[in-house]
């Protein structure tokens, strides 16, 4: 029997049990769809991280407050207030490789305009913050050094605020209120999109850090210092100098550990990429396991099918099927089922990926490699799990098979 004939025989056999064939393939469908989707999300996440890291700004160094250690027990990063505005100014003024430094203080507050209000993040920053972040303005102006020095009640707002409070109208010159305090809007930020952590960066109100410390947050220390280095080649030296300067300013003895953490943009990127890679591997393995389970499902049904079709096998042998025709038929049936499952799974995976990309706003990209490898893998699953039932079918004694009830 040639291959085309075998294919036809298999098609007819699968068609005879169309419903069961579909249900059998379902395991592989779900497995392949899961693999495609997770790989797609992982791939999309990585490219988005790269983009976001670039959007973080150029040659950026972040300094975080250090951890408090009590009797050898670390309370974790950011538990102590070790970074002051003066630290930030010193870094900017005393290290020549550094062009800008902005002490950051965040608060989450209700912001009101007229009868509308919105819960948002208020960031206290210095005047050169937008320069560090490479964040252009859409309208108006950024607050100045003078605004910072005088703790002026001015604000620069992100696109989310424009949409939520002003319904898209230009808000420059309007006054919003935070805890009853009026803030005059002097500028609007360009759209920035998602951050590395997945938050919407446009949901933001920027005010001078001095204003934030005095009227909004009630804190006295910076939560982060955003720093920009002159150029790429000075990153390492700038980092060392920041460390020296802060240790000196904090009067740390040589045996004492740093009470701050310095992270460069690359480190942030690496951490984020590694995290997404770990997640992809984790999700991918789960998806792979489900594909494997789908394969076992095929084997299960094929075994049942061999028993149920004992008589059919007997008939085929009686009319001239060779052992390898029977083996080939059952193997090919399993292969067809898993390939059908693979194809449907790829389609489903595409659909789910698109849906996730659409609703969650994630960048999901399904690569050709992922499609190809999951299809090949599902075919391999079919052959692997189809062989045992096929061999069982081929070894049936035709006389007993013909009498099987």
């Amino acid at each position: 029997m040639n291959f085309l004939m075998l294919l036809l025989v298999c098609f007819r056999a699968l068609r005879r049990n169309a419903m069961r064939s579909l249900l059998t393939a379902l395991g592989v469908v779900i497995g392949v769809a899961a693999v495609i989707t997770t790989l797609g999300i992982g791939h999309g996440a990585r490219s988005q991280i790269e983009e976001q890291v670039n959007r973080l700004g150029q040659n950026v160094i972040l300094v975080f407050p250090g951890s408090q250690s009590l009797g050898g027990v670390s309370a974790g990063g950011g538990t102590v207030n070790t970074l002051t505005v003066e630290d930030a100014l010193a870094i900017r003024d005393e290290i020549p490789e550094i062009t800008a430094a902005s002490p950051e203080v965040r608060s989450q507050r209700q912001v009101a305009y007229g009868n509308r209000n919105w819960f948002t993040r208020i960031y206290g920053q210095s005047a050169d913050y937008l320069h560090i972040r490479q964040w252009p303005m859409e309208a108006g102006r950024m607050f100045s050094e003078e605004d910072v020095a005088r703790a002026t009640k001015v604000a620069v707002v992100g696109q989310t605020l424009v949409e939520e409070l002003f319904e898209g109208a230009n808000p420059v010159g309007e006054t919003i209120r935070v805890q009853g305090m009026p803030l005059e809007i002097i500028g609007v930020l360009d759209r920035k999109g998602m951050s590395l952590m997945g938050s919407v960066q446009d949901d933001i109100v920027l005010i001078p850090y001095s204003t934030a410390f005095r009227y909004v947050s009630g804190r006295t220390h910076a939560m982060v210092i955003n720093i920009q280095v002159l150029s790429d080649e000075y990153m390492d030296i700038a980092r060392a100098k920041i460390s020296d300067l802060l240790r000196e300013r904090h009067r740390l003895r040589p045996e004492q550990p740093d009470d701050f953490t310095i992270q460069t943009q690359e480190e942030v990127a690496r951490t984020a990429t590694e995290t997404s890679r770990t997640m992809t591997i984790l999700l991918g393995s789960i998806a792979g396991i489900s594909l494997f389970v789908g394969g076992i499902g095929i084997m299960n049904i094929m075994l049942v099918s061999v028993t149920e079709r004992t008589r059919e096998i007997g008939i085929r042998v009686a009319v001239g099927a060779r052992t390898r025709d029977i083996l080939g038929q059952f193997l090919l049936e399993a292969l067809l089922l898993s390939c059908l499952g693979g194809l449907l799974g790829i389609l489903l995976g595409f659909g789910v990926s698109t849906l996730i990309a659409h609703h969650a706003g994630w960048a999901v990209s399904v690569s050709v490699g992922a499609v190809f490898s999951s299809f090949v893998f599902s075919a391999a699953v079919g052959i692997f799990f189809g062989y045992y039932p096929a061999r069982k079918a081929a070894r049936l004694n035709p006389i007993e098979a013909l009498r099987y009830e």
Partner: protein, 252 residues
Amino acid sequence: MPVIEIENLRKTYSMDGGLSVEALCGVSLCFESGEFAAIMGASGSGKSTLLNILGCLDPPTAGRYLLNDDNVAALEGERLAALRNENIGFVFQSFNLLSRTSALENTELPLMYNHSGLGMTEIRRRALAALDRVGLAERADHHPNQLSGGQQQRVALARALVNEPSVLLADEPTGNLDSRTTLDIMALLQQLNDQGMLIVMVTHEQEIGAYTRRILEMRDGLIIRDSPVENRRHARAEASGESTTRLNATES
């Protein structure tokens, strides 16, 4: 020249626990083309075993089996499959059609395993011709569950004939049929035999044996009687006669 020639054929089944059962204890036979033989005997007499060996489904333990001068006993699985495909047509008591498969596709089955590598159009044409031969061409697309027992057996006959075998082996072909349909099937077998087909049939009904030309009686793995049928019955005539009688009965 005989189509089938067996000499001192033996078949021993070994059972669990070292026991062995002799199903055939040295059978010698010869069938020529155009014969219509009935193998009769009680159950356990070895008639089914003989038929399975003749059908190349079961290898004999000892003895010689020549089918069209091929020594079947010496052949490997592949060649046996080809022999079954090309030279042997099987008909079973329980029809053994593939369920949820049309009569046409059931009939196509042996052609698909044929080694000459026929195209699908040719396969379809021959299958239709075979169905036509058993008078079921217009029901080619019916599934077994849409056919009566007699019609199913006709499809099975079409399937057995489709490769133009040199012998038709029938295992109680009328065992599952009522007397009216039995007549139909026997008429069809007689018609095929009249066209020159060698038919070997296993049955335990004396009545059915009367439609054949030769009766072989078996007991305990041996042929105890081999005689031609005298006063051979003709199924076609009886069937039309019966309907005439029935017609008369309704008229009167």
